[in-house]
Subunit: 350 residues, 2 copies
């Protein structure tokens, strides 16, 4: 492939206050894009970040045929820029795309586009704890036609947004007992655009009752715990870490799988198995539920302080030796090139 | 409200071959749009149909926060233009929007925009059997931000596409026993963009085996029949018409409810109740399953000639006095102002 690069004339970076960033609202100088037409991906391009013209009939507006990924880049004290397991995101965006009948994006295009984009916009990756560049690869259906069938044309893009430490405030969750996020045979395991829109209304209802996230359960009987908000979820019962197995309904999160591997390596017992709501409620009542946390790219680990199930409310204890704090610190140290990369997870942008 | 109208300088209608239209690819001279900003719908506008600029971070591209409707306008021999139960579509787009945490679009804006647009583009509604103007109202999330939460900004649009008689070819369906379309607590009842993207891949797999549509079943056990492709579905067993009740999982189709009302008025027995796969398979084996058809705006009624369930294949008999033919003719006569409008379904555009 021959990547075409058109650089900006003047960077807009001096307009940005890196100490007052709202998540996902400021974008770097350049963007990567590649169009799928006539059955093939065309010449990939890096161009100045800009609005693009879309026909009102573009299929993405009507049928939600769109998938995405979320990644982060970090800069160490030597000004080197690092990614965390980008191969996982590259593989997963194609798995998501397959489920929505969209073409796979070639691995070499993905990595050359990503690397060149990050090299061009390297100044936007800020050093220091909590600072990172959030990276959003996505694919959208661009055929101009309102018939309800898979698009013939697509656009793959990568855009990047500088972010500070992600802190969602104190998080308590409400266990879903009416709404559902996904079902067997559905698209819950994919980072499909429509999964997120479907979660906004239940999340709003939970927020109105004082809960920052929905703790999703299976659609059939609301009997098993699945994900928290847009993150995978972990439970610490006594000294064991529990998380649901990935499935058709549950996203195969990169942070999730890294936590499992890291924790096991540290001698923490991890059980990956279906987790009943009743089991967690019981453990909370017995004082055996010591921690709960969400796991995802944006927050890495987001501690959950309490939860509600139907009319019952539970607060978790304050624990010393918190798994969440230990694992979050350890993973971010690996991500930021501050600790040994025992598992080969870091990827240097060069 | 003050509807702003900017007319085209020169119509492109003379470039269109109305005898060779592909569904949903040609659009009329004008489009209607209205933006939601700062918590309110702004001045609605009719403008020349054109591409619009979107930032790559617009939420619709990432989170599938988008809903739509499908309607048709018909022209009678007096050059009057008619809609079919547009109040139903107006109500439903707001129900869909609510489920995706999007603001309702005011009824008066909807009808003034729709009416003025159709008056401006009246020449695009062609007379004659099968000819119609397909109308696509839709709403998309336009906030420029990649955080996974409901958008602050939206765009409501109506675009119109001239269509000929919809004929999907011979349709046979495959009963879903792995993939699912929706679940309890989900968004199946809404015309949510993501529902459609999720159906493309299972539809492709069915097509590879020679079936033009998937006959969807419940996600829990694939035990009950729900919808066919993107249509509601009816079964004629002996002289009774069966269709599933609407639910969280099943779209409350305008054609569906019109068929039920019309058929009952004609003395046809209609049972609206959960329908087991085993019951239909049994009826097919016994020779009691006389007809199956899909019901939706695009095709009105789409006869289904046969179906597969797991490894069994069934062909339906050729029947005299087909319910599908009779009901389709009767409904389209009402739609086209060729028959009495006993139920008050027609709406004159004026």
């Amino acid at each position: 492939m021959a990547l075409q690069i058109e650089k900006i004339k003047k960077s807009k970076i001096s307009d940005v206050d890196f100490n007052n960033l709202k998540f996902g609202q400021v974008f770097t100088d350049h963007m990567f894009e590649c169009d799928y037409e006539n059955g093939a991906w065309q010449t990939p391009k890096i161009r100045p970040y800009q609005a693009l013209a879309f026909d009102p009939s573009a299929k993405v507006f009507h049928y939600g045929q769109a998938v995405f990924e979320g990644m982060k880049a970090y800069k160490d004290e030597n000004n080197d820029v690092w990614l965390f397991r980008p191969d996982q995101n590259q593989e997963r965006i194609n798995k998501s795309a397959e489920r929505l009948d969209m073409p796979a994006f070639p691995k070499e295009y993905f990595f050359e586009g990503l690397t060149e984009l990050l090299k061009l916009d390297k100044e936007w990756v800020q050093k220091g704890e909590g600072n990172a560049l959030y990276i959003r690869p996505f694919v959208i259906a661009t055929e101009n036609c309102v018939s309800a069938s898979a698009s013939t044309n697509y656009k793959f893009m990568i855009i990047c947004s500088p972010v500070q430490a992600y802190y969602a405030g104190e998080v308590r969750v409400q266990i879903a007992d009416k709404y559902s996020r996904s079902a067997n045979g559905g698209v819950g395991y994919a980072k499909a655009a429509g999964n997120y829109a479907a979660s906004f209304y239940p999340a709003k209802l939970a927020a109105e009752q004082g809960y920052q996230q929905v703790l999703w359960t299976d659609a059939s009987n609301h009997e098993y715990l699945e994900e928290a908000g847009t993150m995978n979820v972990f439970f610490r019962v006594n000294d064991t870490l529990l998380t649901a197995p990935t499935s058709e309904r549950i996203l195969d999160g990169v942070t999730r799988k890294s936590i499992i591997q890291f924790a096991e390596d540290k001698g923490i017992k991890v059980e990956v198995r279906p987790i009943k709501v009743t089991e967690i409620v019981e453990a909370a009542k017995n004082g055996e539920l010591l921690e709960m946390f969400g796991a995802g790219t944006a927050a890495v680990i987001s501690p959950i302080l309490g939860f509600a199930h139907k009319d019952e409310k539970f607060e978790l204890p304050k624990v010393e030796n918190s798994y969440a704090s230990f694992i979050k610190k350890s993973l971010t140290d690996i991500q930021r090139n501050l600790a040994e990369d025992k598992f080969g997870w870091r990827f240097k942008v060069q």
